[in-house]
């Protein structure tokens, strides 16, 4: 009786995950795109996959999207197996792919109307929702425009609006702001943040650390098809980096030589081709030490640690190459 009560309590306190992956694997002939990854996403959570191009993020997203079939491992989305319930799962998803795939032959609003029908929704309901979403995506004044006439940022927002036409339980965003200018990115982040506030589960991939820091409650760092680390942006920075980073440049020919001499300064040093990164809780203090050694960097910069540093620490490589 007691044991029963305990089990019951657990299941009410911890909501069932909306996505659950165990040893999830995808192989193409000889190439392993995703090499057995495990993760869970809780309802309402904003979960990110951070990694460089070719890390297997998009492949993972296409498997979560119940489109690409897994080679091995277990995957459950909304409690269902995508191999047998693809259409049912997809009826509860919103998908923003890496490459926009709006229908260029249709006008802006028609893209939403047509897409809503794919979910079997009544036309009247779709029409109302389309107008709301055009408002949300700040495209109401472009409703009759041809898709080709829209800017990159507008197309992206229209794709997001289209992904929301069925009021999805989970929104999947693959590189949502890649290729957009800074202003367009900020508009998009603002819209995504609002969705997050409304309790929509977001799963996104990105190779921008600022994007992951802005939008994700929790993320996994992915490289070569494997998960390198997992946690909230703040905890990952805390665990794998220092509070501050001192970046110093000595000029490309003197870089290596200077690296030898500053050994022992800070907690850790990363030598990049064009600069040195000195990890420390007090960047200014390290800079003073360097100057006292008689070294005079051409430029120096003290900044907060970011996920970029986490990635560098975990893989020895830079995130955006």
């Amino acid at each position: 009786m007691v044991a029963h009560g305990k089990a019951g309590l657990c299941s009410t306190l911890v909501p069932a995950p909306v996505i659950s992956a165990q040893s999830l694997t995808k192989k193409y002939d000889d190439f392993t795109a995703v090499a057995g990854i495990d993760f869970e996403v809780a309802p309402g959570e904003s979960f990110g996959l951070l990694g460089p191009n070719g890390a297997g993020k998009s492949t993972t997203m296409r498997m979560i999207g119940a489109v690409s079939t897994r080679t091995d491992g277990e995957l459950t989305i909304l409690g269902l197996d995508p191999n047998t319930h693809g259409p049912d799962i997809r009826s509860q998803l919103g998908v923003v792919p890496q490459q926009d795939n709006l229908d260029l032959d249709l006008r802006v609003r028609d893209n939403l109307l047509v897409y809503g029908r794919y979910f079997g929704l009544p036309r009247k309901q779709i029409a109302e929702r389309a107008d709301e979403l055009l408002e949300f995506a700040q495209l109401a004044d472009r409703r009759g425009a041809k898709v080709d006439e829209l800017s990159g940022g507008m197309k992206r927002r229209l794709t997001i609006a289209r992904a929301l036409i069925n009021d999805p339980r989970i929104l999947l965003l693959d590189e949502p702001t890649t290729g957009l200018d800074p202003q367009a990115r900020h508009i998009l982040w603002d819209r995504l943040f609002r969705l997050k506030e409304r309790g929509t589960t977001l799963v996104l991939t990105t190779h921008y650390m600022d994007e992951a820091e802005q939008l994700c409650d929790r993320l996994v760092v992915v490289d070569k098809g494997q998960i390198m680390a997992e946690g909230s942006p703040a905890s990952l920075i805390r665990d794998y980096s220092s509070r501050e980073v001192l970046e110093v440049r000595f000029g490309s020919d003197k870089n290596a030589e200077a690296a030898e001499r500053v050994q022992g300064i800070g907690e850790r040093i990363e030598v990049l081709p064009d600069r040195l990164l000195i990890y420390s809780d007090n960047g200014e203090a390290e800079l003073v030490k360097i100057t006292e050694m008689g070294l005079h960097p051409i430029t120096s910069l003290v900044r907060r640690s970011s996920l970029e540093d986490v990635f560098l620490r975990l893989t020895g490589r830079s995130l955006v190459e």
């Binding site: 259409p87 009826s91 509860q92 229908d103 032959d105 249709l106 339980r169």
Partner: protein
Amino acid sequence: MTVTDDARRALTSGAAPRRFGALYILEHRIRALRGYAWSAVMTSLGNPIVYLFALGVGLASLVPAGIGGVSYLEFVAPALLCTAAMTVAANETTYPIVAGFKWNPIFHGMNASPITGRQIVHGTMLFIALRMTFAVAVYYAVILAFGAVPSAWGILSVAIAVLTGMAIGLLISSYSSTLKDERGQLAMVMRFGFTPMFLFSGTFFPLSELPIYLQPIGWISPLWHGVELGRLATYGQPIAPWLIAVHIGYLVSIIVIGLWSTSRTVTRRLAG
């Protein structure tokens, strides 16, 4: 595994698309057609008029005795009807199929929703059949106006032409759906597939006029089977009953196999 609320909701909302997905695709394509409806109507009307004047009036004057007991115009009219369907098929199943994966990748967009690869193919083919029926019906009206249909059964030639066109379209889509890159392969299909079929299927002269070693082009060509049936419908060309069955069976088999193979290719590509 216990069924969660999420799962139950997904199963409910997935039910309608599972059943009607292909019709939703048809609806999409009809909406997209609005953008070029005018040019589609004009082509449907312009083509037959040009062909009937050129062949039925111009070329016919060189064949005053007619062919097989009917005037040249009556002989060529059901064949032209089939070639009209074949042209729609070629237009819709070559570049638009490659485009759906590549240049205007709507197939991927459709498949991210509950719609399956099979439904995408079925809906697209339904749309093509509808568009073809419209084009062929207009063509038939023009042929009637030229007085080229002696038999009351003539109207059946519309359905025959659509059957022929769809067989050819599905033959092409079985191939075009496999193309990941278009480097002139479709132009080759038109040059070495479409054009010989167009010319050597008993379209403009009876197949029996060809040397025996060229006649097999006609036998394997869906167009020849359709044209033979069309001639039966419009002027009662004598055909053995077993041969009628062969003609219909051949066209239907190609449609069934083509639908199956195109669906399989599209489904596999989308799931990659």
